[in-house]
């Protein structure tokens, strides 16, 4: 479980996050949603330590992260898997080397054990046999899936996913969403997905935290989101023609 309390973050005079709090449970898919510039990715980066919040705390199963020293943070980070918006695969390495990289760094397994783990992860994301391809040879969806395979290679307790569907067609987006949900339930990970994709929200949003202009406006589940009276949330959820047409059917 990850708990954030009263997170504040500014860049110069621009207050990006203003007192965000929330509790993200293990085994369910937690979504942080909001429009562009609402502070979603900044909040995610504060949670994983890539940004330092000016105020507030982030707790990983009761362990306060923001005040930890470098070595203590490294230990927590070994329990984190992350899928980046652009996948962030290492260009100079093959798919196999990308997934094996954290295993090489932090385990004492022999090559066969590591290879078995790589193949298992690739199988889990339906990319069997793609070991020797380089990132440049993969489609956007395949890169995302390799990113997920790398993120789960070390059996993470916490899984962070930044905009998993950006640049993907709707069908591939659903595949990625379902994969994230399956992995979360299968390994009981605390999964946090940052997205503005309404298919993801309605499809996998067990717990949703809605940000607007750096503030938490609403929290709840995908079953509740279509029935709120909050104007800002309704503007966001029903922005597309499709969602407007489907209003009332949820």
């Amino acid at each position: 479980m990850i708990e954030i309390k009263d997170i504040h973050k500014s860049f110069g005079s621009n207050k990006v996050l203003q007192g965000i709090s929330g509790k993200f449970e293990a085994g369910v898919t937690n979504l942080i949603i909001g429009g562009s510039g609402s502070g979603k990715t900044t909040l995610l980066k504060c949670m994983i330590g890539l940004h330092h919040p000016e105020q507030g705390s982030v707790e990983y199963d009761g362990r306060e992260f923001t005040s930890m020293n470098f070595e203590e943070k490294i230990e927590i980070r070994k329990e984190i898997g992350m899928l980046f918006q652009g996948s962030a695969l290492f260009d100079s390495m093959t798919v196999e080397e990308n997934i094996m990289f954290p295993l090489n760094m932090f385990t004492e397994q022999d090559r066969k054990e590591k290879l078995d783990r790589v193949n298992f992860c690739l199988e889990r994301v339906n990319l069997e046999g793609k070991n020797k391809l380089f990132p440049a040879e993969l489609s956007g969806g395949m890169k995302k899936r390799v990113g997920i395979a790398r993120a789960i290679a070390m059996n993470p307790k916490y899984l962070f996913v930044d905009e998993p569907n950006s640049g993907l067609d709707p069908k591939t987006s659903i595949v990625i969403d379902e994969l994230i949900k399956e992995l979360t339930e299968e390994y009981n990970t605390t999964t946090i997905v940052v997205t503005h994709d309404m298919n993801s929200v309605m499809g996998i949003g067990d717990y949703i935290l809605f940000l607007h202009e750096g503030k938490k406006f609403w929290e709840g589940s995908n079953k509740e989101i279509a029935h709120t009276e909050i104007q800002e949330l309704n503007d966001f959820v029903f922005a597309s023609r499709f969602m407007k047409a489907a209003k009332g059917k949820f």
Binding site: R77, A88, P102
Partner: protein, 244 residues
Amino acid sequence: MNFTNFGRYLLLLKAVFRKPEKFKIYLKAIFKQMDFVGVGSLGLIAIISTFIGAVMTLQIAFQLVSDFIPKTIIGSVNRDSSILELSPTITAIVLAGKIGSAISSEIGTMRVSEQIDALEIMGINSPGYLILPKIIAGITMVPLLVIMSMFLSITGGYIGGTLSGAVTPAEYIQGITTDFNPYTIVVALVKAFVFGFIITSVPAYEGFYVKGGALEVAQASTRAVVVSCITILACDYIVTQLLL
């Protein structure tokens, strides 16, 4: 480099020299970088050094027109100039262009494509993993390249001088073997060590803190070469002043 940048550069170096997560992985990266910095630059440094030695001999011969000056001096001036200044400095400046821009672009691209963030999230000390192997490769391979450059520059002087008739083979060889002071080699190697550190660490710093996209990576790469060259020349003066 203003004071803020210099401070950030020192903090980055502090992170670079943290204990490696797994020495075996770092060792592999060090050998890869040594191949890139050293073996990959052999041809370029060989060509440049040979021609500079040849040109130096011709220019020294052109300037020493007096009958009172023995022609053996051409060899000894070329030897000392090559060892003390031309080989270390020209090699370093050429490598700052070739290696420095590559290091800055590589690390800068990794920064803007979130690959460095990915390393951090895995719990890896990204400055150490990305920069330490490059610095070790620089401080070991640049001195070796400079030694090769000295040898080829003096050889180039021999070839250029004798082919043009500016100096006879016997006079040139007598010149390069007379009054040789081995301490000049020590000075050159100290310079090469310092330059090797600059060539790798300054571009790595420029790349590591890139923000933006392709344009900013290119600007960082240009800045890396310019700052490296100026730093090399400043350090050249300081080391020469301290050691000679």
